[in-house]
């Protein structure tokens, strides 16, 4: 189990706030309504626990868009929405006038594009702050429960190790749509992530 210093913990929360804030700003432009964010939660847990936690975020079935990322540190980024709200989200993007048929047809592309924008804005902002470059896979849309999504998408990797789990909830206030942004860092690159956090803190203190 890795222990974070108070400084590291504060810096990670601050970086997540900035990065997710950037993503929320992008989402706000896309749907033209206020996005509320919770404070980020950062945990060191087993990967199998991470998948259970993702499942607990999606009790009634969910759709998720998944992107793997790699660079000095690597892991998985997920944007999770309750399945019963996905059409409402599409409506928020393309407007009220579109018929339900069209909304359903566009659901897959709309959620993929939302995730592309939200996950890239947050990962890109984080990379810029840490002065590194991160590569992302193309977004993949998956339906199911959170646990199956995570296990399915990371099935080729070791699922018994540890992971750094970072989660932020966001809410589209008027439409009462809530979702989650989750980053799961592979533990073998977590130390590198923490080194970059230490470097960031040093730069900020100069």
């Amino acid at each position: 189990m890795m222990d974070l210093s108070e400084m590291q913990s504060g810096a990670i929360n601050e970086l997540m706030n900035i990065s997710i804030g950037r993503a929320a700003s992008s989402l706000n432009q896309l749907v033209n309504e206020e996005i509320l964010l919770t404070a980020p939660r950062v945990l060191f847990i087993k990967r199998v626990e991470a998948s259970k936690k993702i499942n607990s975020l999606s009790l009634n079935g969910s759709c998720a868009v998944f992107q793997a990322f790699s660079g000095p540190f690597a892991g998985d980024a997920l944007l999770i929405f309750p399945e019963n709200k996905s059409v409402e989200l599409v409506r928020a993007i393309i407007g009220e006038v579109a018929p339900l048929e069209t909304l359903t047809e566009l659901e897959h592309d709309a959620l993929t594009e939302v995730a592309n924008i939200v996950l890239n804005a947050s990962l890109g902002s984080l990379a810029n702050l840490l002065e590194i470059e991160i590569s992302c896979s193309l977004p993949e849309y998956v339906k199911g429960n959170g646990e199956s999504i995570f296990m399915l998408k990371t099935g080729s990797r070791e699922n018994v190790g540890m992971a750094m789990f970072m989660e932020v909830d966001f809410v589209l206030k008027q439409r009462k749509i809530n979702g989650y942004v989750v980053f799961v860092l592979d533990v073998d690159t977590t130390q590198k992530f923490l080194d970059l956090i230490d470097n960031y803190v040093s730069r900020m203190m100069m």
Binding site: S26, Q29, A110, N120, P139
Partner: protein, 127 residues
């Protein structure tokens, strides 16, 4: 001869959103679409008059958007290029700018596009 623009993005909704902003800001322009780099290169090759502007998403399946922009320049195509992406990382912006492409962040809005088109207009006036 009317002006023309090519949108390269694998996401239908992304093409639709960009297309609708272009229809608002440049209603007389002809819009063509491609879903990937190979499709885009074929359309560029087939368009004898040349596209005035090519918008390219970075996250394309197969050849990515930056590789496509590079290939377009290698082929001697002089159309104005705009890399349109949610990937806001500094190195991505630098690579796009090194190819002489504008870097436009997603989500797009009409003001950004108006600004971009006015720069394209100025360049065309000079040449």
């Amino acid at each position: 001869m009317s002006n023309s623009v090519l949108l390269v993005d694998d996401n239908y909704l992304a093409r639709m959103m960009l297309g609708s902003i272009i229809a608002e800001t440049r209603p007389d322009w002809t819009v063509s679409e491609a879903q990937n780099a190979e499709d885009a290169l074929q359309r560029i090759d087939a368009n004898r008059d040349g596209f005035d502007v090519i918008f390219i998403d970075v996250g394309l399946p197969g050849m990515n958007g930056l590789e496509l922009a590079s290939k377009i320049r290698e082929n001697g195509v002089t159309s104005a290029l705009a890399v349109v992406t949610a990937n806001i990382q500094k190195p991505v912006r630098e690579k796009a700018e090194a190819l002489g492409a504008a870097f436009i962040e997603k989500p797009l809005n009409a003001e950004t596009l108006v600004d971009f088109f006015s720069k394209v207009d100025k360049l065309e006036e000079k040449s």
